[in-house]
């Protein structure tokens, strides 16, 4: 074991190396120091923006700086993101809006401006790519980075210091803060980034991985959700340490492939690589209703609008998908997912909608739904997409009509042409 006074460390504000057991940086006086025995050996990072949507909104409107801010949709929507002031009051993301407002009535609620967030997200991603080409985005505001070997192109700076500089750069140039997790594997890097939010920088090394994980709840393990945690609890397993005591064969026998994951991750073994091919695996859109809907016609209208949205994205990115996925969430929060494989890929709203509606027909009747979504997976190139059909002559006409509508919408906006499914004479729409 290395003594604390010989641990490598540096200041996160001025990046000076800090010796010994100093509590503050000698150069700038900052208390934000990082120290860890494996600091210069670790290279796998998880970077997560802090309260991203809310931070962007606060950046753009300084008046909001000291106010609790919630970004989310409508009165029936859920909280997408909330700032740390709102979090102190008990607001959490994914919380229904009415509950959030109960907890924090004076919160400023802002409708999400996804276009703005993804613009900022792209800027940040660009900065990540300045560090390493091995960036695997998980969402608009978080990513894994593998910085192995990058010392050679960054003046022999170890990954840890590069990351600290990166965090500072994002604060200075973008105006939002990030939290960094540094470890030797994806699992622990992600756990680390979550440890000291916001503006955090946490390190988990190989040496302390097992003892660090032992007292943690099993839900920390990637893939252990509420249901699986309950199952484990029934077997008396609540902490990761208990999993560390079990052998692989037993875990696999009990929990199948998940057992193997439990075995490995509980010991901090995670072989997953960082994949930079950030190509989309699916394109989808969903909406939560103001009020639960059971009526087929009403659901169909939403489905049509969403199909058009998905189609628009596919066409814009030159993609086509072969499997159509319908997602429904019932009143009691149960998710139903149905999919259907087409015999050729598509990017047409018409085909996505028709496939979706045929799946929807089988689902409606008994239940009320709070959410509907549609998407396509098995993405591929467009040369094979939407071939002409010998039998369905109408399909060719509908495809032509769709192409014409696309041109009109490009010129005059999305509302310029609508199908009968989504058109309402008065603007009494729920969208």
């Amino acid at each position: 074991m290395t003594g604390i006074d010989t641990l490598p460390g540096f200041c996160r504000d001025c990046f000076q190396v800090v010796p010994g057991r100093a509590e503050r940086c000698k150069a700038c006086g900052s208390p934000r120091l990082v120290r860890h025995g494996e600091l210069n050996a670790l290279h796998l990072a998880h970077i997560d923006c802090d309260a991203f949507y809310a931070s962007v909104e606060k950046r753009d409107n300084p008046e909001l700086a000291d106010k609790p801010v919630i970004v989310g949709g409508g009165k029936r929507g859920v909280v997408s993101t909330c700032c740390y002031i709102a979090r102190i009051r008990g607001v959490r993301s994914a919380m229904p809006m009415f509950k959030a407002l109960e907890a924090c009535p004076e919160a400023v609620v802002i409708k999400p401006d996804m276009e703005k967030y993804s613009r900022v997200g792209r800027q940040i991603r660009q900065m990540m790519q300045d560090l390493t080409p091995l960036v695997e985005p998980l969402s608009i505001d978080e990513a894994f980075l593998d910085l192995k070997g990058t010392e050679l192109i960054h003046h022999h700076e170890p990954p840890a210091r590069l990351l600290a500089r990166f965090a500072r750069r994002v604060e200075d140039e973008i105006g939002v803060t990030v939290s960094v997790g540094l470890s030797y594997c994806k699992f622990l890097a992600k756990v680390a980034s979550d440890m000291r939010k916001p503006r955090g920088f946490s390190v988990i090394g190989r040496e302390e991985a097992i003892s660090f994980l032992a007292p943690k709840p099993v839900t920390l393990i990637w893939g252990v959700g509420r249901a699986f945690a309950e199952k484990l609890a029934q077997d008396g397993i609540r902490e990761i340490g208990q999993l560390q005591q079990m052998d692989e064969a037993t875990l696999i026998r009990r929990y199948g492939t998940m057992g193997q994951r439990l075995f490995r991750l509980s010991r901090g073994e995670d072989e997953r690589q960082v994949h930079s091919d950030g190509e989309a695996k699916s394109v989808s859109a969903e909406t939560t209703f103001f009020e639960d809907i059971s009526d087929f016609e009403a659901l169909a209208a939403h489905l049509r609008a969403l199909s058009e949205k998905v189609s628009r994205r596919l066409k814009r990115s030159g993609l086509a998908g072969q499997t159509v996925v319908l997602k429904l969430k019932t009143q009691d929060f149960k998710t139903r997912s149905r999919n259907f494989s087409l015999d050729s890929p598509t990017q047409l709203a018409d085909r996505i909608f028709r496939t979706g509606i045929s799946m929807l027909e089988k689902e409606v009747g008994s239940a009320k739904f709070r959410l509907i979504g549609i998407g396509v997976t098995s993405l591929g190139e467009t040369t094979l997409a939407d071939p002409q059909d010998l039998v369905d002559q109408q399909a060719a006409r509908r495809a032509k009509a769709e192409a014409a509508i696309d041109i009109l919408r490009d010129k005059f906006g999305n509302r310029s042409v609508e199908t009968g499914y989504t058109f309402r004479p008065t603007d009494g729409r729920s969208r």
Binding site: D343, T355, T383, L384, Q388, L390
Partner: protein, 372 residues
């Protein structure tokens, strides 16, 4: 029930009937095969509620009766018994189990009551005729590959069979299409088939029928009603529901004005398509056919792996033409052509192309081009 039966007889019949039984069933009785010993024979029956096969085979019946046991289990047991063995099938007195015994091997299978076994109520058939087994097989072989798997268009999930006047003769015609290609095959209509309703035989039934008539030289008898078909060959009776739907007007899809004719040796063409499509991805990629005087150039471009070209001499004396097709679809069709030469009737790169044997149009295919 207590019977003795030769293992080979039992295996042969089980082999026919057990295929109908789906491996996964939510209704337990549908996993079972019905066995009934009576007179000098054992009758076996299996069903998936849409399709039912029964078959009788000689057996020594000591005690008449019946039961139902898991079909795949029984089949696997009989399969593993030694060749030439005699098999005893005997139910226990309370009917809850059946013993399968042969030599020193002994099995006990759980039974479900015969009364629970569903019957595909065949009703009465309006038309019945005898058709040559090889004719029926030809109709299936030539069209089966084009059956659609897209459930949304359930009426394309089978072979459309009907009678039609063609060239002064009455033909029994099979048609299948998935929207990308269409296959049509004719045989001389057997007497008794005239006036039969057009029927859509579902894909699973088509597959079983194909196996059933494989190697049958003589006639099989066919009975048809609006909703069902029954085919009998020897001791085997297959009854199936038909697809309740309207098959589209396929004649409208077959172009009649394609005036650019290309003749090509079937085997040479097929080998060339097969070769160039090596480079295409598994999903199926377009093969570009560039046709000019006497020569056909096939090209496949796959940005991920490379490109391929091949040349084949053809009979063609029209304006040069470039047209793309799905490689798999081309292969499917050329595999079915029996004559030495295939005839392609083309119009333009965006219109359906007709493919047929040089010998005539007993089998005719329509193929939708792809963008290349």
């Amino acid at each position: 029930m207590r019977i003795t039966i030769e293992r080979s007889n039992l295996l042969k019949s089980l082999n026919h009937v057990h295929r109908v039984v789906e491996r996964r069933n939510t209704i337990p009785i549908l996993s079972n095969v019905l066995l009934r010993g009576e007179g000098q024979s054992l009758e076996m029956k299996a069903t998936d509620l849409d399709l039912e096969i029964t078959e009788s085979t000689p057996a020594q019946v000591e005690q008449a009766g019946g039961t139902t046991v898991p079909a795949h289990l029984l089949y696997d047991i009989v399969r593993k018994l030694p060749d030439g063995a005699e098999v005893l099938l005997a139910t226990t007195t309370d009917g809850s189990a059946m013993t399968v015994a042969s030599g020193r091997s002994k099995f006990s299978l759980q039974c479900l009551p015969v009364s629970d076994f569903p019957d595909l109520n065949a009703g009465t058939f309006s038309h019945s005729f005898k058709v040559n087994g090889s004719d029926l097989k030809m109709l299936i072989d030539r069209t089966q590959f084009a059956i659609s798997t897209e459930e949304t268009r359930y009426y394309l999930n089978g072979i459309f069979m009907h009678t039609v006047e063609a060239g002064g003769d009455l033909k029994l015609r099979a048609v299948a299409t998935d929207g990308h290609r269409l296959a049509r095959a004719d045989v001389v209509a057997p007497s008794g088939s005239e006036g039969m309703p057009g029927i859509i035989i579902p894909r699973k039934t088509v597959g079983e029928l194909q196996k059933l008539v494989d190697g049958v030289d003589g006639d099989v008898s066919v009975e048809i009603s609006d909703a069902k078909i029954r085919v009998t060959t020897g001791p085997i009776v297959m009854t199936s529901k038909l697809i309740d739907g309207t098959f589209p007007d396929y004649q409208r899809v077959i172009p009649s004005g394609n005036d650019k004719e290309m003749r090509v040796d079937c085997a040479t063409f097929q080998a060339a398509v097969d070769r160039v499509s090596t480079i295409s991805s598994e999903r199926g990629r377009a093969v570009k056919l560039a046709i000019s005087d006497g020569q056909l150039t096939l090209t496949v471009n796959n940005p991920d792996s490379g490109s391929a070209t091949d040349e084949v001499p053809v009979g063609y004396d029209n304006d040069p033409l470039e047209i793309g097709f799905n490689a798999k679809y081309l292969l499917d069709i050329t595999q079915q052509l029996s004559g030495g030469e295939a005839v392609f009737l083309l119009a333009d790169p965006g219109s359906p192309t007709v493919v047929r044997d040089i010998a005539g149009d007993d089998a005719l295919y329509v193929l939708m081009p792809m963008r290349v």
